[in-house]
Symmetry: C2
Subunit: 265 residues, 2 copies
DNA sequence: CGCGAGGTTGATTAAAGTCAATGCATGTGG
DNA sequence: CCACATGCATTGACTTTAATCAACCTCGCG
């Protein structure tokens, strides 16, 4: 299902492939170099960082870590998608995000030294494991790394503020539009299409994340499809009118479905 | 502005009054020493930190900083209460928190180097201004400070995750109960009563923060008062049944008002 | 003493939730 | 290869929750 950067695909020329592999498995060779932790580091510093990092596969539906596990490492997503959720005593869950390639997981555990969330792979995935103590040791000698780490933490804060805004202020339609726009931008940043992508999560996950039910998500999809904003087939999404969707998300335009044009079948 | 010498306290003539003042204005003498940034630092390091910190008064209803202002400093609340909110293009606001004594503001600005929120004083307040560049310079030599800074950032992340949980999963009554419990714990941590305190914000601010209207807040207060959980007079709150309120907040007990016992006056 | 901001209360409405039936793709075993 | 089970998704009917609208109260203050 998932090809960890061409590696498995070229079995018939062993030696060069191995070289390619090791390059690809290092920070220097990673396509997320410009998004991930090594951003801004020179080659030498990148290699020093690289030395403390381990790689780990996380099969679909398995946990990267669980709430309450002792904190040892941060993780950067190399390949794949995750969901990260909290849970209360009653067992209710709230998905706080869907981390994807280049994103850092586990920052919420630094304070208490226990992970505060469950992190589950939505598909067969791969992460870079960054032992936090070793990372801290590097900070004293690598101010650029430290500064970028602070930016990553800060960005996590603003990401969550965005979700708070969404949950506190927006109606269902806006929420779902924001969600799509946000995915669109994330994929664009990573060099993928901004208008065509696959949802890696179920409708239920989306609903949970947006504070809505699965039925509401279904209805929002139906409505936006009727209005010609998106085209959806299963988990394949195509955004047909990105700017209209963006306006919807930002709340500057309330879209009213005109059922006249779309009589019930 | 800055009085780093604690040794001045060893005087026992008229000077002591002044010395006491200056001690109070320094990190060493600050009552928030155990909660704020200097946590865990020895006297010498505390003084080094102290040297880069300035103090600033923020009158009620005035801005500490505004969305879009260039980021230069973090702020620690010394005295008073603030509200911190985001705003979208349409002008809708979402209060993300009510920082109080010992809390750090402005961490969301590190990434973009622009503040992402407005921060407004809810009463006449005072902050410690921590120029971020100077703080970064200290990190290389003060790993304890750095580690504690990371904990502060991490805690900010978990605080916000708690709000996301609240907004995404809880009904009005739970939200308001959580809000009260959270205030209660914050005050307890700071050595104040866990069951009697003053709300520093309007009902409208509370409603906005909790994703509810002012009317809903009013009704929740009325209901909890009827149920004997709290006593409220204007902004004075007394929690009469902390454990029941806690259960409500955690969702493990759905409280049903029995209007039979409380006929309309 | 009257004004105004902030707060409460009641009646009604709108939005999203719940419940229930149905559809559709995938995978498995006969 | 079909039949059927399963998990996920859609759609419709109805209910619940909190929002909206509107009236009124209360307290502090000029």
């Amino acid at each position: 299902m998932n090809y960890p950067l061409q590696s498995a695909t070229s079995n018939h020329t062993p030696a060069p492939v191995f070289a390619l592999n090791s390059a690809l498995r290092s920070c220097s060779g990673c396509s997320m170099h410009q998004i991930c932790l090594p951003t801004g580091l020179n080659e030498c510093d990148t290699q020093r960082l690289d030395k403390i990092i381990g790689r780990r596969k996380v099969p679909r539906d398995s946990f990267l870590y669980r709430i309450g596990d002792p904190f040892t490492s941060l993780y950067a997503v190399r390949v794949g998608h995750f969901k990260s959720y909290q849970q209360n005593i009653a067992g209710d869950r709230q998905i706080t995000g869907f981390p994807m390639t280049g994103e850092l997981l586990g920052m919420d555990a630094i304070n208490t030294e226990r992970y505060q969330c469950d992190a589950v792979a939505l598909e067969d995935s791969e992460v870079c494991e960054i032992p936090f103590e070793l990372l801290e040791n590097l900070f004293a000698q690598m101010p650029t790394l430290l500064h970028h780490f602070h930016r990553a933490l800060s960005q996590e804060i603003t990401n969550e503020q965005r979700i708070i805004m969404l949950l506190g202020n927006m109606r269902a339609e806006q929420r779902f539009a924001s969600f799509l726009i946000n995915l669109s931008m994330s994929y664009a940043t990573r060099g993928y299409s901004a208008t065509r992508f696959q949802l890696r999560m179920t409708r239920e996950d989306i609903g949970n994340h947006l504070g809505l039910t699965i039925e509401s998500i279904s209805r929002m999809i139906a409505k936006m499809r009727r209005d010609g904003l998106i085209q959806v087939r299963q988990r394949d999404v195509e955004i047909l009118n990105l700017s209209a969707l963006g306006k919807l998300a930002s709340g500057s335009e309330i879209l009213v479905s005109t059922p006249v044009y779309y009589p019930k079948q």
